[in-house]
Symmetry: C2
Subunit: 456 residues, 2 copies
């Protein structure tokens, strides 16, 4: 090579390769610390085993607020509890759903949907009408539905590699299916659980009534029970008797937990990372979303441990009430907008504590291409950790911050096991693999580091 060319290459490439080498060292350090010295696994153990399910408005939810605030404070950083008013729904006594075919009565694996009302201490008994989708119900004459229990049995499509896509296509049955059934004069709703598994576990989750019509009970049944019911319906009439004790109580005061490390150079530019503290009552909220909370707390811990001094303000936000109201997210966005804050980026971890696969980015139409292009460049630095960056959704708790013009980023772990556990009694601490959880914390911290170091 001639000397002129060498000098040219040296001048133009040296600074970049040096920067990128420093980044690689910093990101390797973050991973080393996460895999050897992180508190995330023991924090999650406490949230799951010492506290347990953390439904909004419950004593456990308040315990989780106090515990995480204390642990974050122990890192030596500023912590506040940001008030928000949350719905207070209670399941009450165990639901009972019996399927009656001729003289035979079979107890099904069932659990009431979040926000649903109960049967008022009585037994609700009615004939079942099965539909495969929301559209299918729309096309049925109300006279055929009136007085019956609508059974939504559209299965989650198993062929997608991205299981969240299958969930997105089916979950309408659970969320607004009851409202569709109300309009047609149904007296109750049963929903096939949102999972591709064929098992006995019912999956709860939020639903929303149409306030213009009388409210009706809405209950999820396991996929195996749904298959059985559908089979029975093929040969004749099926009746179900339902008892549910669920009720919506008065909203209560609750909190988001917010911890912050102020930026040294651009303190007004905020990079937030968050998960949600509340969970369903049936399990321990291990993957949904204890994992996301301890991921976010770990970002603060790993920054402190690594000795890195952020230029921008790094904020950990543990949102309350993602599951049945997102009132924490609303309170956070409102306060942020009121204070004229600017989130240049926000990362949400709410897809479980599995091996990280990368990130997906969402932003306002006029800025999305710029954000993607900037962040996509970092794929190379993140390649040793098998992390990719693509366009896609972010998360329910940060979506409202998109209006500030920053990049809303969803953390994407491996999605295959999520819907086995999601919203069931099986979402427990023993389903967490320590290394997978720690690698998630490291992946998110690495992206926070890059966002902080380069800005957007």
């Amino acid at each position: 090579m001639n000397p002129i060319k060498s000098i040219f290459i040296f001048i133009f490439l040296y600074p970049f390769s040096l920067i990128s080498q420093n980044d690689s060292i910093q990101i390797r350090k973050i991973h080393d610390l996460a895999l050897t010295n992180s508190s995330c696994y023991s924090w999650l153990e406490h949230l799951c085993l010492q506290i347990g399910g953390r439904l909004s408005g419950s004593t456990n939810a308040q315990k989780a607020v106090d515990y995480t605030a204390k642990e974050l404070k122990n890192l030596g950083i500023d912590v506040i509890k940001q008030p928000c008013k949350v719905p207070h729904w209670e399941r009450g006594k165990k639901e009972v759903v019996n399927m009656i075919v001729g003289n035979r009565k079979t107890l099904l694996h069932a659990c009431a949907l979040g926000n649903s009302i109960g049967t008022n201490g009585k037994e609700l008994k009615a004939e079942i009408i099965e539909v495969g989708s929301l559209d299918a119900l729309k096309n049925i004459d109300a006279s055929l539905v009136k007085g019956k229990i609508v059974f939504f049995n559209g299965a989650m499509n198993p062929i997608y590699i991205e299981t969240f896509r299958a969930y997105g296509e089916s979950v309408g049955q659970r969320y607004i299916g009851p409202a569709f059934a109300q309009k047609k004069g149904a007296v109750g709703v049963l929903v096939r659980s949102m999972t591709t598994e064929h098992d006995i576990y019912p999956h709860t989750g939020a639903m929303k009534y149409d306030t213009a019509y009388p409210t009706i009970p809405a209950i999820a049944i396991s996929t195996l029970d749904a298959d059985l019911m559908s089979k029975n319906l093929k040969s004749g009439k099926v009746t179900c008797s339902i008892q549910s004790d669920s009720k919506m109580l008065t909203p209560v005061d609750s909190y988001n937990v917010i911890a912050e490390i102020k930026g040294s150079t651009f303190p007004e530019e905020i990079i937030a990372v968050g998960g949600h503290l509340d969970s369903w009552d049936t399990g321990q909220g291990a993957h949904d979303d204890g994992a996301g909370c301890v991921h976010s707390m770990s970002v603060m811990e790993l920054i402190k441990q690594s000795g890195y001094k952020p230029k921008r303000t790094i904020r950990c936000v543990l949102f309350m009430n993602e599951e049945n109201g997102t009132m924490g997210a609303k309170a956070y966005a409102e306060a942020s907008n009121k204070n004229k804050e600017k989130h240049i980026a926000a990362i949400e971890s709410d897809e479980g504590g599995f091996t990280p696969r990368g990130f997906s980015i969402d932003a306002k139409d006029e800025v999305i291409e710029k954000h993607i292009a900037t962040i996509k460049k970092w794929e190379k630095i993140l390649a040793p950790y098998y992390l990719t960056i693509d366009r896609g959704g972010s998360g329910a708790d940060i979506d409202a911050l998109k209006n500030q013009g920053g990049a809303m980023i969803g953390f994407k772990p491996d999605p295959q096991r999520y819907f086995t556990l999601h919203h069931t009694a099986e979402d427990t601490f023993d389903k967490i693999n320590k290394r997978e959880l720690e690698l998630g914390a490291a992946a998110i911290t690495s992206l926070v580091y890059l966002l902080d170091n380069y800005g957007l």
Copy 2:
């Protein structure tokens, strides 16, 4: 665009894009079938729950031979049982390892290493000497080791993303550590379990004596017990008493199970895919390597179900005795070489039934670049399934086929959970996720399809 340019592009790009579109359709079909209609999960359920641990030479190993041969025959393809002579090692009664510090005796979580001999009905009691590696033992004067129990306590390095690298760096302590200890006059060996977990489960695995010296018992202890022992050694003398009933019996007749679909155009070109039927006795051999066996069986099933007619000969090989002798692999390679066969490629699945991440390729020095270049091109077609292809190792059962000049390929699933379970009583069917297992079968079948369609 001017019409000349259009025609040029049409002529030169059309055929490639058409081929690649057909490949995409075929690979999508393979995934659809795997996720909706595969037998792999139920096959594995039978291997784990109806048969269980399948140590070479055991009744269970023979049951696994008969069961898998029958299931493959049920697919309507040719199946043979290929004879091989395998070692017959038995654990016997539960091992007992007590740690004695002063007057305090603590029962440790222990299990004898495969191929190790027992204590001949007696209790072996001796002082412990701890070393952190094979090299550390090499550098210690034999007079300090003579009459003692060597305790190998080199921990697996937790910071590698590739857990198999950490295993590779540490496993020498287990495999040839006992031989090193024999040479220094030790009377026994304890080995820290090969895992980055801190838990109570001992991990067994093969070891090999130096036949020039007296044999000595060799036993793995859990990592928590190893930590405790090491802590005690820091403040003084530690003695252990060991009882092991392990013995090596006379070699017995066993089999590889081989199923084949003859190629329509190049029947002499073989593409083999395999796992190993034998497993350790402590668990059910679910991830190691029931998963690899049913992956390989699924390749045959998915080819049949998809209606694809292979041009080359596709062979499923379920190897016997990978764990403590690889006698099945030797028998297979010998017969193959004797018959002047040519394996253009062989794929081994022996890293568990976790979400697929891709493949690694090994070949003879003079052909590796060519093979990598050819196969690497297919990454684009496999991108929707998040599969990457890189240079790397293949597997113990196919390594001997490399001499035939083909590509030896290791299937690489996500490696984070493998060493939590590997060689323990915890490697059971409940640790298998159905979708992850099915995606593995689909990934391997997709690569077999590309290898068959294009050759190498």
